[in-house]
Symmetry: C2
């Protein structure tokens, strides 16, 4: 049975993702769970602690998938699995990316943890890109690989904010939000496309088709 | 002689860029100008009106430079001029990009104007990319051109936020802020690099060298 602590975290995450972290109070979370505010405070002193713990979960998930398998070369299916993991994590923690600047401004400790997380993840990401290059799925100089990595990171971290800046809230229901997030993965594929080789290049159109919304371009989806 | 209205706008912009829009009140602006709050209110009813007018200036500048010259083909020097204009505008309105989500959440009217501005700018940007392609400086399919445009836009709009999320405030003085902004232009050049042809490709290293901070990679600058 799920503990109250875990249920608070799951419920807070769902509410933050749906309404934005700023619009949700600890009272909203307690009410949604039908527990008393006192019971919630027993587990978390305030919303900052809840956000902090949700970030820890997110961090652990990213660290777990952003690994190069030991003892075998990477394949194009690994490449797809990385993209899929990025998508799932962007979706699950979309409140976090949407309000990153605000959340970091509100919590100096979280800011330091986020910078550490970014440094580690960028380092792991570079290992993955090197692994793809080693497997002949990517061709790029060290300089190209590093600039590609930074651009991919900025795209992943900023995509949700980009969408929310351009699509009015009343149009952005959960379905469109999910469609546009998949379109963000398509944009990452386009970023990497010029460097793909071998099997990865052969499957470029397959990968694009899997994430692009039909024949619609990103701009059409945003401004329809 | 500069009008009081213009002086208020210039001073507000300088303070917003230095301290962040949220930390600056209309009283701070009046004090910096050595005018009474009443005098300021005569020109602007509140900070929202000041932000709105600063955005109008920014919009006008972007619209002015993001044009394809009539009656002649684009050159690689035009390409450099676009990059330089992007840099200047990112620098001048850096408070805006740093706190975009917050500013749009606080002002529904600004949100609509920003979406219109993005739509028009992306349209103009596509014309510029088509012009570069027409001049033989870029080779890309329509699909590649549009995804490149979206990725460039996200990079420009998100770069300042990316830097501020990763570099602690006490390390980020004006000099490092400016260095990292130039590094953002280098990242845009890297984004476009695989598609460059002719004169633009011949000058790729020149363009990179003009914006990159020596031999330092972006990650070294961020996490040194």
């Amino acid at each position: 049975m799920t503990s109250t602590r875990e249920r608070i975290l799951d419920t807070a995450l769902a509410l933050f993702n749906r309404h934005g972290e700023r619009r949700v109070t600890t009272n909203h979370i307690a009410a949604e769970l039908a527990i008393s505010p006192g019971n919630l405070y027993y587990h978390f002193r305030n919303k900052t602690e809840i956000v902090s713990e949700l970030f820890r979960r997110y961090e652990a998930r990213v660290e777990a998938f952003l690994q190069v398998p030991v003892g075998r070369a990477l394949t194009w299916q690994d490449k797809v699995a990385y993209l899929e993991a990025i998508l799932q994590n962007m979706w699950q923690a979309r409140f976090f990316h949407r309000e990153l600047g605000h959340l970091l401004d509100a919590d100096e400790h979280l800011r330091r943890r986020y910078a550490d997380f970014a440094r580690r993840s960028l380092d792991q990401g570079l290992q993955v890109y090197c692994g793809l290059r080693h497997a002949g799925l990517l061709e790029a100089t060290d300089e190209e690989l590093e600039s590609l990595l930074v651009n991919t990171w900025v795209l992943i971290a900023s995509w949700t904010g980009f969408v929310h800046a351009l699509v009015p809230g009343e149009r952005l229901d959960e379905e469109l939000d999910r469609t546009l997030l998949r379109q963000g993965i398509y944009q990452i594929i386009c970023l990497e496309a010029p460097y793909l080789r071998g099997e990865a290049l052969e499957h470029l159109d397959t990968m694009k088709d899997a994430y692009r919304q039909g024949s619609h371009s990103t701009l059409e989806l945003l401004f329809e």
